[in-house]
């Protein structure tokens, strides 16, 4: 090939790089040189061997992400390299399978959340929230957003990073000390005072408590021309009412529970949808959208990316977002998982988690580990309080039983609290073992 190019050395191809910029040494990367595959495998295995966590039973760790089961079908199907080695479907005719799968994801999620449109994915639940806030600001032309302190603290931080530098004011409201739910009086006051672009509610919230006032807050928001943003995990939507049916204008979530898994926090897909009866939101919606169309000759239907004039590659600095790469494959995983579950499976899964939560709360209370918010109804995650919570967590950890995170890292006033999470993976024996060890420790 060099001969075809009329050069004798590959270096000539780099001759336009200023001499002083040419790197005249080898990059100091890797482990000395190219590795055969068997060495790479061994080396990787050795490194991962330094991970010390060993789950005696599935972990009771929460904090927005819990360990859920990912069906073998999901893993096998997304291992089809026609899916995972493909690119964003810029050429839809050769990518009908992928575009159809994404269209189905949009459709399934819209059904679950009770909204008109869900986009083809954001990076994850945290950035979906930040995008939702900015979407609300664009649509309403207002500059303040009301957020309660009981939404995921890391989501709150992400929203701050994405919003405050452009002059969006985040108005924080508190939570009720008895129920753990948002302080409705404070929300009302903030809405009246600030006339915000939107109010954000997460349910169940970071403490694991189901927010019972979503409908009331939505009504208040509507009354004052604000949009209602609801963050909810899709895994509960067979059991709980769709946020779109409770007054949400914008819905958000994350696919960790429905196919993506933990993976030390990512990747997942961020779910972002809108209820848009007046057509105010769609043109401001960020992210890819797959639509149904027909062939130029009109004989057949097909799927392709639509409304691209909202996007960065067309609209540049006037785009609704800079998002380019998204989380398409995680969206496909979610579509597969939800298709497998169906409406009954999804409801049963929600019931299975709810039942375990109730059992867990009661059993822990019996041995002296009480919920921090006594009047809250918990789902999947429970905030527990004890003066010896730090030692208790350590004691459990030494036995391969993991609870957490401790809330001290996020809330000064909750220094004696921890989250405990239970999912379909826990058997009665698993929970009983946890409770037994907790009881044992607290008796000492």
């Amino acid at each position: 090939m060099l001969k075809e190019l009329g050069i004798s050395s590959v270096l000539e191809l780099f001759s336009d790089i200023p001499q002083e910029l040419l790197l005249r040494r080898e990059l100091s990367v890797g482990y000395g040189g190219p590795l055969p595959e068997y060495r790479l495998r061994r080396l990787f295995n050795d490194i991962l061997g330094k991970n010390r966590f060993r789950y005696t039973v599935p972990p009771f760790l929460g904090g927005g992400m819990c360990l859920h089961y990912v069906p073998a079908v999901v893993k096998q199907l997304v291992s089809r390299s026609e899916f995972y080695t493909s690119y964003t479907p810029y050429q839809p005719e050769i990518a009908q399978g992928l575009t159809q799968a994404l269209f189905e994801y949009q459709s399934l999620m819209a059904e679950l959340y009770g909204v008109d449109v869900v986009n083809a994915s954001m990076y994850n639940g945290s950035t979906a929230t930040a995008e939702a806030v900015r979407l609300a600001v664009r649509v309403t032309g207002r500059r303040a957003v009301v957020l309660p302190r009981n939404i995921h603290p890391e989501i709150l931080e992400v929203v701050r990073t994405w919003s405050e530098p452009v002059g969006i004011s985040l108005v924080k409201v508190g939570y009720d000390r008895e129920s753990g739910g948002v302080d409705l009086a404070e929300v009302e006051k903030a809405i009246r005072e600030w006339k915000p672009a939107a109010v954000v509610i997460q349910t169940p919230n970071f403490f694991g408590v189901i927010e019972e006032g979503v409908g009331e807050v939505a009504n208040l928001a509507k009354e004052h021309g604000s949009l209602m943003i609801v963050y909810e995990d899709p895994i509960f939507l067979g059991l709980l009412e769709a946020p779109g049916n409770l007054g949400a204008d914008i819905v958000i979530g994350d696919t960790s529970s429905v196919g993506s898994g933990l993976n030390f926090g990512g990747p997942t897909a961020g779910i972002l949808g809108i209820k848009d009866p007046e057509g105010r939101l769609l043109r401001q919606l960020p992210g890819r959208l797959i639509g149904y169309t027909r062939t130029v000759d009109g004989y057949e239907g097909g799927y392709m990316m639509v409304l691209q004039t909202r996007e960065q590659h067309i609209r540049r600095e006037r785009a609704t977002s800079n998002i380019t790469t998204n989380s398409a494959l995680e969206a496909v995983k979610a579509a597969i998982h939800i298709s497998l579950l169906g409406p009954q499976g999804l409801r049963k899964l929600g019931e299975a988690i709810a039942g375990r939560t109730e059992y867990l709360v009661r059993a822990l209370s019996r041995v002296g580990l009480n919920p921090a918010f006594e009047r809250g109804v918990y789902l999947r995650e429970v905030t527990v309080r004890h003066t010896r919570i730090v030692e208790l967590r350590e004691y459990l950890r030494s036995r391969g039983i993991y609870i957490g995170p401790l809330l001290a890292r996020f809330f000064k006033e909750l220094g004696d609290c921890s989250l405990v999470c239970t999912t379909e993976l826990h058997t009665k024996e698993d929970i009983d073992l946890l409770v037994e060890l907790v009881g044992e420790f607290l008796k000492r």
């Binding site: 991970n51 089809r80 964003t88 992928l98 169906g342």
Partner: protein, 511 residues
């Protein structure tokens, strides 16, 4: 004959129409049901699902066949070249896929204690260091879930840097007209006014035009080098001097690193902040749009502004560092897209310093194919005649369009018919009827020759039988789709429910 492509075509209905009987694809236990009712009885009725979501009830085999069929109507690097310019669609080594699926990562909870996840932290720390070495910067964070998120982080860092110095009037970000669309979009998201500057005939950023817009309002410039024409910015050192001279900063878009990796480093060129796309340069797959993984890297004082947490090493153990008082904060929750990041780690580990061969082979591929295509009838090079390209090149079919009516999009569709994914088309915007082609190091000479033959044939046919090209593709699962029709407000159909409402099927059937 190389042309022998016919994509699978299943008349696969939407998943909502796959089965007619209610089936369950997943078994869920009912062990705790009595407790469930107790919990639900304490909730107001209105919070419980009133009517079940209208989603399908399918058996496992129905779901498996549906999505397997859909996979057969998709096209990725494992089937053939995907020469999308600036997308760096290289082969994704299978060993990386297998290893990154390890349960010691898959089941690792993000709130495990640091000492329980030393293995993962070592991977993140090592990757941060390697990436910093590759771009010639001090520190990298891999918290950014994608390249554009790295751009936003970088733009926010630049903004905060100026504000911290009391420099409150710097509200302009300079972006060349050849830049990726995400650059101006990211700058605008961070609150900057975007100032566009042109490209000169040699294909460089126009330094004179740059000088003319530099001022005390300049916050910085966002550049990719090599640029989207595949050309190395010959005057990058002058650009850096000029921008720094007025107190501005330089942002490096790493999407195009593949052509110079190991040969030149953005940090040495004078860039202060950079992002990398781990799913491009470092072989993590693109997943049909994502998830990818990004990194944002910075030099000198700018490193203090990186998103937190970073992973650091105290000589004994790896730990998260949150103590960056000037940090812009979290750009995303947790620690980034770990799985693609692990694949990038494995890729660099496997290659070591020989990773520079990536730049060599991809650059040879680029120039070899450019040479073959540039002489085709109807094809022009708009910028940078007789200059070597790096990771990609851009040709224009403007002449072909004028002479035959066949434009870049038609040529792209005709490529699909020959079993190749089309390159990026109609971009960069400064080249009319553009094909932007990036082969990466993965394509063999034979493959490139096949693609060249396909282009030759298409161009020839454009002159002899333009209608045939215009009616392509015919070998893909569907024929050419109508973007105009699909975007008309009365036709916008984004869900199955809307599809039923519009009775699109009937509409198509009767037309």
């Amino acid at each position: 004959m190389y042309v022998n492509f016919r994509q699978a075509k299943w008349d696969e209905p939407p998943i909502f129409e796959v089965g007619t009987f209610a089936r369950e694809g997943v078994k869920v236990d009912e062990e705790f049901l009595s407790y469930t009712s107790e919990l639900l009885s304490r909730l107001p009725k209105r919070l419980l699902r009133g009517s079940p979501p209208s989603i399908p009830s399918l058996s496992e085999v129905e779901v498996v066949r549906h999505y397997t069929r859909l996979s057969q109507m998709s096209y990725g690097v494992d089937l053939g070249p995907v020469p999308l310019g600036s997308c760096t669609m290289k082969y994704n080594p299978k060993i990386c896929e297998e290893l990154a699926a390890d349960s010691r990562i898959a089941e690792a909870h993000p709130y495990l204690d640091e000492e329980d996840v030393q293995g993962i932290l070592e991977i993140i720390y090592t990757l941060q260091k390697w990436l910093a070495e590759i771009v010639g910067m001090d520190v990298c964070s891999i918290q950014t879930p994608a390249g554009a998120s790295g751009e936003l982080a970088g733009a926010l860092m630049i903004k905060k840097y100026h504000l911290d110095r009391g420099d409150v009037v710097r509200d302009e970000m300079i972006v060349p007209d050849s830049a990726h669309g995400s650059n101006p979009a990211s700058a605008a998201m961070a609150g900057f006014k975007v100032v566009r500057i042109p490209t000169d005939r040699r294909g460089n950023t126009d330094v004179e035009a740059l000088r003319a817009v530099l001022s005390s309002r300049t916050a910085g410039i966002m550049l990719t080098n090599p640029n989207t024409l595949g050309l190395f910015e010959e005057y990058i050192l002058d650009i850096a001097r000029e921008v720094h001279g007025v107190g501005g900063l330089l942002y490096y878009d790493g999407a195009n690193l593949n052509g110079i990796i190991g040969y030149a480093r953005p940090g040495d060129m004078g860039f202060d902040v950079a992002h990398l796309n781990l799913h491009k340069t470092f072989a993590a797959p693109h997943g049909g749009g994502g998830p990818g993984a990004g990194a944002v890297c910075a030099k000198g004082v700018l490193a203090e502004y990186l998103p937190v947490p970073l992973v650091d090493f105290d000589g004994r153990k790896y730990y998260f560092r949150y103590d960056l008082p000037k940090s812009i904060g979290r750009i995303s929750w947790f620690y980034g897209n770990i799985v693609p990041a692990v694949k990038a780690f494995l890729y660099i580990a496997a290659l070591g310093p020989s990773i520079k061969e990536v730049a060599e082979v991809s650059t040879i591929n680029t120039n070899y194919m450019l040479k073959k295509l540039a002489s085709l009838p109807g094809v022009d090079l708009v910028y940078g005649h007789s200059r070597w390209r790096k990771h990609e090149f851009v040709i224009s079919f403007e002449k072909l369009r004028k002479e035959t009516g066949i434009g870049a999009e038609d040529v792209a569709k005709a490529l699909l018919d020959r079993g190749f994914h089309a390159p990026t088309i109609l971009f960069p915007l400064i080249v009319p009827e553009a094909h932007m082609i990036e082969l990466t190091e993965s394509e063999t000479k034979e493959n490139i020759d096949h693609m060249v033959k396909a282009y030759e044939e298409i161009v020839r046919e454009a002159y002899s039988n333009a209608d045939k090209i215009r009616s392509s593709p015919v070998n893909t699962s569907v024929k050419r789709l109508d973007a105009v029709y699909g975007n008309l407000p009365k036709n916008i159909t984004l869900t199955y429910k809307q599809f039923k409402l519009r009775e699109v099927l009937k509409g198509v059937g009767s037309s």
